[in-house]
Assembly symmetry: D2
Homo-oligomer: 157 residues x 4
């Protein structure tokens, strides 16, 4: 995984209390012929938020796949997703993806995510991800990852 | 909208009873570094299924946007989506997207969708779409569209 | 790799003389806020054409990665690409991607590709792909693949 | 167009002499089953760089489409693109997209672009874009845009 870059300090977003915030710009690739953001682009934005959330907690995709987190080689995979698309968004706009951890299970995390524009809620999601081995079996979330998440969740109090 | 092409009769899929079936090939663009299909690709596949479902019912995106369906210019937009990702899929595989209409509301349609591979359920979604005007207001689904959908839903009995 | 599906005979396109033709529908995901097809979507369409061209020649991505074609595990990777975007395309249209092999090198193929709509040239590309090992080294295109390509190229005469 | 956000000062990249630099993170959506960045993702990264380059020059997509730049409503569209894919890139990496203006024509701009990783050249492109009206006719680049570009190009000396 790339080292956090001193040149671009905000690239992986910021932790604010118990919430991770990532800024995302709307480009051509994110819009469709209606003139607005394509709903599938918001699904990608949520994934970027989740990736950078775990990145800032010290849990890299490559490290997980290499088995460097105290468990066998594994990857987080989306198991269930519910999304409410509430407001449109348009080309060039700056959106903020907010990600919080709602629940830590044996092999799963449930995350609450929101896309905001200037404080207005655009889209809201609840996403359940599961840690899977290369063979597709659920892998118990190891102490290292669990510790990072729990320290993070307890930070707020 | 492009005319249904005699050269490629299956391109918009097929109606089978009350269900629309669209074949989708998994290409590079649909996979990610885990070696499997990216969850966001399945979101795009569901949209392709919905597009071709309404296309075969005679409801084209361009016609809707031009106001040719007995209502003001409008577009169907995703309002709510629930997805269960049940099995992985891989490069080169042939998937089938099945789409059925569960409910027709005043301005909304609720669709049940499944992605299958050789008869195995890969992913399942319930998607609520709403017909919106250019100003973002819900537009009552006109008689022409409603008639197409109802004729289609009653075909099965 | 999925077996060619009897249910969807045209899904991988068709060979017509020395040219492979693949039909592609323009969906939401392929357009942008200008109302037309996003240039990056055409890049994806060309890749689909190349994938199905080699698929119909019997060269599967998974087989290549597994080393089943008489060479070490490898994948075709794009090395150079020149594209002329000549005409716009729009939502719902049926495009045809034509792919021909211009040159077979030691580890490379040069392909000429065109996207047509109702016989009008929309976009044209010359793409050089190279067979690379997992370590990123060029791999000599083996007899099996070379034989398939040469038989195909000589079919026309 | 969204205002430059004080909260995320680097989101649109930075001008460094005659070159615009944009940081881009590689996410799931940018990779494919080979484990590396999909070539089409680099095409999207180049487009992000061009968008933010003209954004920092004060030329917004929405303003152009609304005709606020002293010319009729128009949009920049890619006409020709040559890309050399030189090195692979992987999940989680931080890439930098560098964009320079090589030539200003009547209705066209030719841009030189590079994707770098830690000072190593990953991909290089020459892209010609043309300002087109809604009817698809080339539009002469107006004084306002030309002035911005020329001031920018002369900054270096």
């Amino acid at each position: 995984m790339a080292k956090p870059s001193g040149r671009w300090p905000d690239l992986a977003g910021r932790i604010d209390g118990d919430t991770h915030i990532l800024a995302v710009r709307v480009y051509h690739e994110d819009t469709d012929f209606t003139g607005l953001v394509y709903h599938g682009a918001l699904v990608r934005f949520f994934e970027r938020g989740r990736s950078d959330f775990v990145r800032l907690l010290g849990i890299g995709h490559s490290d997980l796949l290499a088995g460097n987190h105290g468990s066998e080689p594994a990857a987080f995979v989306v198991r269930h997703m519910e999304i409410d698309f509430l407001k449109p968004a348009g080309i060039g706009e700056v959106l903020e993806v907010a990600t919080r951890c709602e629940e830590i299970g044996g092999a799963t995390l449930t995350l609450l995510q929101e896309v905001m524009r200037d404080g207005v809620l655009v889209t809201r999601a609840r996403v359940k991800i599961v840690l899977l081995s290369r063979a597709g079996k659920p892998v118990r979330i190891g102490k290292l990852i669990r510790g990072s998440l729990e320290r993070f969740l307890n930070q707020e109090s």
